[in-house]
Symmetry: C2
Subunit: 219 residues, 2 copies
């Protein structure tokens, strides 16, 4: 038996192993852990059922390997936000756009993580999922606090509420695409860039008239 370790996932050893990982990722994201059988995965990956066990030991291990992969991917995303070449405002906008684009570009990762977050059992896997979300949240919160310290936010604005609003708006835009498309016939922003622009207006509406930092939310 040559199964992968459970604590750390390495690269897939063969093409078949890679196909198994990819197929299981999609299926787990769509139907959840219990909704997918090893048969389904093997069939989608065009391998024998026993081969799945050969590479990943058991079902839980395969699921964990998927979570580990997506977690790594999402963590590396956060590194982009740390460069100080751009203004705080720009970094917030870039983070929001990057976050939204990545959700739209790889929905399976989102659903894989979301399914883990809504599980009441506090397993180690759920902890890691929470950790990723928590890091992302803290990062954005820190940027917003910085923005407020710079005087670019009204004093009565609560950075935490604003953080949750941005992250939540992104998720809702991602999740409700189908619904939005139906009622967006009158020219509402359905493109991510336009949506992020609208979202940034909510934070500091003085973005059109050329960076006027002291012009706050009037009226």
């Amino acid at each position: 038996m040559q199964q992968q370790s459970s604590t750390q996932s390495a690269e897939p050893r063969t093409e078949a192993a890679r196909r198994i990982l990819e197929a299981s990722k999609i299926l787990f994201a769509e139907r959840g852990y219990d909704g997918v059988s090893i048969r389904d995965i093997a069939e989608k990956a065009r391998v024998s059922k026993a081969n799945v066990f050969h590479h990943f030991g058991n079902k839980a291990n395969l699921y964990e390997a998927n979570l580990h992969d997506t977690a790594e991917k999402l963590i590396t995303k956060l590194e982009v936000l740390r460069d100080t070449r751009h203004s705080v405002r720009d970094r917030i906008a870039r983070f929001a756009l990057l976050d939204l684009q990545e959700q739209l570009g790889d929905p399976h990762c989102v659903y894989l993580f979301l399914r883990q977050l809504i599980t009441p059992q506090r397993t180690a896997q759920r902890r890691t999922a929470e950790q990723v979300v928590s890091d992302s949240l803290k990062n954005l919160l820190h940027l917003l606090e910085q923005l407020k310290a710079d005087g670019e936010l009204p004093t009565e604005t609560d950075p935490l509420a604003l953080t949750l609003a941005i992250i939540g708006a992104n998720f809702m835009f991602f999740q409700l695409q189908g619904i939005l498309a139906e009622l967006g016939q009158d020219g509402n922003p359905v493109e991510p860039e336009a949506f992020i622009r609208s979202l940034m207006h909510l934070i500091t509406p003085a973005v059109d008239n050329g960076h006027d930092a002291q012009r706050h939310l009037t009226r």
Copy 2:
């Protein structure tokens, strides 16, 4: 055989049927459709396994009955928003607070609906779930457009983005309670009322200087 109809769910006929419905609601919300067996439900409801089939026909029917129940519950919630006795601003604040409180008060309904929304299969059940969310969204969107027409929102504010921000922020507050509690030691708003107040500040920050009809949520 005396199973309920599939298209419309009536009240549970016996105490046992009521217990089955309640037990299955919790289990389905926590573990999802495939994660729960009839055995689990029967055991939690303290009835025989065959009795579950007697009352609900099959597993899918039982699940559908749960969805129908929660959908009805959420739809009736929206009725509150239609009374014109309060100002538009108040109705938005009341809607947001009511929405958040209901999520916090009955998490199982939220998870039951969420699990349905993240299913890629476009079943009739998913349609109804989408319909409920869509109605709720349209309602809030309409109120915000009204608010903007009244001149209480900046002209560059996009009502749709604001709608998604409010709904999304509520959901994030609900979902990330555990994470928020950890980093909320420095006096951040962890109570729903305070959070909604902060959220309303984001919409119309001119709430402090004493408008006439906004006294309800400002302590």
